[in-house]
C-alpha cells in the first residue's frame, strides 16, 4: 500500500508551506475523476465529482477542515539532539522503535471484491456522505504522512532512533491514506494527493503544539475507529462498506503513534510541568473536542447511516480520549461533568446559525454583521468551557499525586 504513495513527489518542498499555485501541478492523474478539494465544513456540495477534464475547484478551507501541519524543524532538531539533551529516555524510544518495526499490520490492508460491490450498492445521499467520509479521512491520514515523513528526514542526523520512528509512522499513514484512496476508487474517484500537497494551506505549529495536537489527533482517532468497529461488530446490519472491518487492527497504529508523542513529551518535561503547560493542555483538548463535535453534528447522516447516535458517539469518544490523555497531559477537561456536554450542544446550535447566515444570498457586509453576535456567543461558550474547573492529571512518572497512588 505504501507504494501507492510513491506518486507523491514534492515532499522535499514540505518545509516551505506557502506553495499555493495549484495550476502548475497536474501530473499523477491516473483516474478518470480527480477530486481537487477536500471536505468543507458544511454538508458536502454535490460537486466533488469532477469531469474528465479535471476542472479545478477552489479548495474550500474552513476552521474545521482537516488541516496540514508544518513546524519549526530546526527547533525539532535541537529538541531531539542527543548531544544537547542528555535526558532523552533512550530506553522508551528503543522500545517504541522495536514496536514499530514489528509492523503488525504489514499484511492487513489487502482489499477484496466486497468493496466494489458494497460501493455500488450505496446510492442516494448515503453514497455522497461516504465519499466525503473517505475524502476527509484520506486527507487526514495523508497530512500525518507528510509531517512524519519530513520529520523522519530532518531528524536523521541528530537522533536516528526518533527519526526512524517518524519514518515508520509515515509508512503507516501512507498505508492508511492509500487504502482510503483505493476506497474512493470504488466510487470512481481519487484524491489527487500530489495536488493536495502543494495546494493545501499548511498550519504552522511550534513543536510543543505539534506534540499536543498530534497526540490528541492520534488518540482520538483510535477511539473513533475502535468505537465504530465494536459498534458494527455488534450491529452487522449497518456494515454497509467493508472498510470498517479493517478498523480494529488499523486503529492500533493510531494508538501507537499517540504513545510515541507521549514519549516525546516525556522527553521534554518543560512541555508538561508548569502552569502554562496545563493551560495549553486544556486549550488543545477543548479545541480538538469542540472541532470534532461541531464537525460530526454537521454529518449526522453519516453516523446515523451506520447506526450510531452522533452525539452519543462523540461524547463516548471524548470521554475515553480524555481519560487516555490524562495519562500524559498535566491537566485535562472535566468532560464527564454533564455541564460540558450542555455547553457543546449550545455551541452546535450557534454554529448551525452561523452556517445558515453564510449560506444566504445577503451581501457580505450584511452577513458579517449578522455573524457578529453569533461569533461572540460561540466564543463565550468556548471560553466558559475552557474555564470549567479542570482535572489535574499526568503520567505517573511525573505526576505530583504519584506517591499516594495505589495501583
Amino acid at each position: 500500500m505504501a507504494a501507492e504513495m510513491a506518486l507523491v513527489k514534492p515532499i522535499s518542498k514540505f518545509a516551505s508551506p506557502k506553495l499555493t499555485n495549484p495550476s502548475k501541478y497536474l501530473s499523477g492523474r491516473r483516474f478518470s475523476t480527480v477530486i481537487r478539494m477536500s471536505a468543507t465544513s458544511s454538508p458536502p456540495p454535490p460537486t466533488t465529482v469532477k469531469s474528465k477534464k479535471g476542472t479545478k475547484k477552489e479548495i474550500q478551507e474552513s476552521l474545521l477542515t482537516p488541516r496540514f501541519y508544518t513546524t519549526d524543524f530546526e527547533e525539532m532538531e535541537q529538541l531531539f539532539n542527543t548531544e544537547i539533551n542528555k535526558n532523552l529516555n533512550e530506553e522508551e524510544f528503543i522500545a517504541l522503535l522495536q514496536e514499530f518495526k514489528t509492523d503488525y499490520n504489514q499484511t492487513h490492508f489487502v482489499r477484496n471484491k466486497e468493496f466494489k460491490e458494497a460501493a455500488d450498492k450505496l446510492q442516494g445521499p448515503l453514497r455522497q456522505i461516504f465519499v466525503e467520509f473517505l475524502e476527509r479521512s484520506c486527507t487526514a491520514e495523508f497530512s500525518g504522512f507528510l509531517l512524519y515523513k519530513e520529520l523522519g528526514r530532518r531528524l536523521k542526523k541528530t537522533n536516528p532512533v526518533v527519526a526512524e520512528i517518524f519514518s515508520l509512522m509515515s509508512r503507516d499513514e501512507a498505508r492508511h491514506a492509500g487504502f482510503l484512496n483505493k476506497g474512493l476508487s470504488d466510487f470512481n474517484l481519487a484524491l489527487d494527493l500530489g495536488f493536495l500537497t502543494k495546494a493545501r494551506k499548511y498550519t504552522f505549529f511550534k513543536p510543543k503544539f505539534i506534540f499536543y495536537a498530534t497526540y490528541l489527533s492520534e488518540k482520538i482517532g483510535y477511539w473513533r475507529y475502535i468505537t465504530i468497529y465494536r459498534h458494527l461488530k455488534q450491529n452487522p446490519e449497518f456494515q454497509c462498506y467493508p472498510i470498517f472491518k479493517y478498523f480494529e487492527n488499523w486503529c492500533q497504529d493510531e494508538n501507537r503513534h499517540g504513545d510515541f508523542f507521549s514519549a516525546l513529551m516525556k522527553a521534554q518535561p518543560q512541555f508538561l510541568n508548569d502552569w502554562q503547560a496545563k493551560l495549553w493542555s486544556r486549550f488543545f483538548c477543548l479545541s480538538v473536542y469542540v472541532t470534532m463535535y461541531l464537525n460530526d453534528c454537521q454529518r449526522t447522516n453519516f453516523y446515523e447511516g451506520i447506526g450510531l447516535n452522533t452525539k452519543e458517539f462523540d461524547m463516548h469518544v471524548i470521554i475515553e480520549t480524555n481519560r487516555t490523555t490524562a495519562r500524559i497531559f498535566p491537566a485535562v477537561l472535566d468532560v464527564e461533568n454533564p455541564e460540558f456536554k450542555r455547553k457543546l450542544d449550545r455551541m452546535v446550535v450557534i454554529y448551525e446559525k452561523l452556517l445558515a447566515v453564510g449560506q444566504t444570498d445577503d451581501p457580505s457586509f450584511i452577513k458579517n454583521l449578522k455573524k457578529i453576535p453569533l461569533v461572540t456567543g460561540l466564543a463565550s461558550e468556548i471560553l466558559a468551557a475552557y474555564l470549567m474547573p479542570p482535572v489535574e492529571s499526568g503520567s505517573v512518572d511525573f505526576a505530583e499525586f504519584e506517591p499516594n497512588l495505589v495501583y
Binding site: 482537516p66 530506553e91 495536537a213
Partner: protein, 210 residues
C-alpha cells in the same frame, strides 16, 4: 489519525486562579466486590487452530526450559490491580490479541503471559504495599516490549526478576476474578466478555492445577 484539527479561532484567556480539582486515578472510594475462591476446574481454552500451534510451541518451551535447570532467564513485568488491568482497561486486550495474531503469523514462540496473583510479587514488598489485590501482572521475556506497555498503560508498576524455569516465573495463587457490571455503561457497544484474559494465562500452570 488526523481527522480532527484545531480551530484557530479560540482566543485564550488565562485564568488567574483556575480552580483545580485533583482526581487521582485508580483510587476508587468503593472497592469492587470481588470474590476469591480456588480454581477447581480451569476454564476450557477455546483456541482456533491457527493459534494453537504457538501455544504448543510455548508448552514445549516450558518443558525445555524446565529441563534446563540452573540457567536463569530474566523476566520483565508490569503489575496493577486486576480491576484496572482486565476490566477498566479492557481495550488492553486488543493489543494482546494483536500480538498473539502476529506471533501466530510469524510462528514465533510465545513470550508473554498474564499472571493472576503472581507468586513472584512476594519478592517485591515495595510494590505489594502499594498494590490493590487481587493483582494481575503482564510478564514477558522481552524487556523492551514491557517498557512499551508501561508507556501505554502508565498507571502500573514495572520491575524485573530472574527465574530458572518458566513454571517458577509464572507461578500464581489461583484466584477467580469477578468484576461488577459497570453501573453506567454508555459506550455504543457491549463490554468485552469477561474471561478474555484466559487466553493469555500460562497454559502449563493451568494444567498443573487440575
Amino acid at each position: 489519525m488526523w481527522s480532527v484539527t484545531v480551530t484557530g479561532a479560540l482566543g485564550v484567556a488565562v485564568p488567574t486562579a483556575a480552580a483545580c480539582r485533583p482526581k487521582p486515578f485508580l483510587i476508587s472510594s468503593s472497592l469492587p466486590k470481588q470474590t476469591t475462591k480456588l480454581h477447581l476446574s480451569p476454564p476450557q481454552l477455546t483456541l482456533t487452530s491457527h493459534f494453537s500451534s504457538s501455544f504448543k510451541a510455548a508448552a514445549t518451551s516450558v518443558q525445555q526450559q524446565s529441563d534446563n535447570k540452573g540457567e536463569s532467564t530474566k523476566y520483565y513485568f508490569l503489575v496493577a490491580n486486576a480491576k484496572f488491568m482486565l476490566d477498566e482497561e479492557e481495550h488492553f486486550q486488543e493489543q494482546l490479541f494483536e500480538r498473539l495474531r502476529y506471533y501466530g503469523e510469524r510462528e514465533k514462540e510465545l513470550d508473554f503471559w498474564l499472571v493472576i496473583e503472581p507468586k513472584f510479587l512476594d519478592k517485591f514488598p515495595k510494590i505489594t504495599q502499594r498494590l490493590r489485590r487481587p493483582a494481575v501482572a503482564l510478564v514477558s521475556t522481552n524487556g523492551s516490549w514491557i517498557t512499551f506497555m508501561k508507556l501505554r498503560l502508565d498507571r502500573v508498576l514495572a520491575e524485573s526478576f530472574e527465574a530458572t524455569s518458566l513454571d517458577e516465573a509464572l507461578a500464581s495463587n489461583p484466584t477467580t476474578l469477578e468484576f461488577d457490571k459497570p453501573k453506567n455503561w454508555v459506550a455504543p457497544y457491549p463490554k468485552y466478555e469477561p474471561g478474555w484474559w484466559e487466553t493469555f494465562l500460562p497454559k502449563k500452570i493451568e494444567e498443573s492445577v487440575v
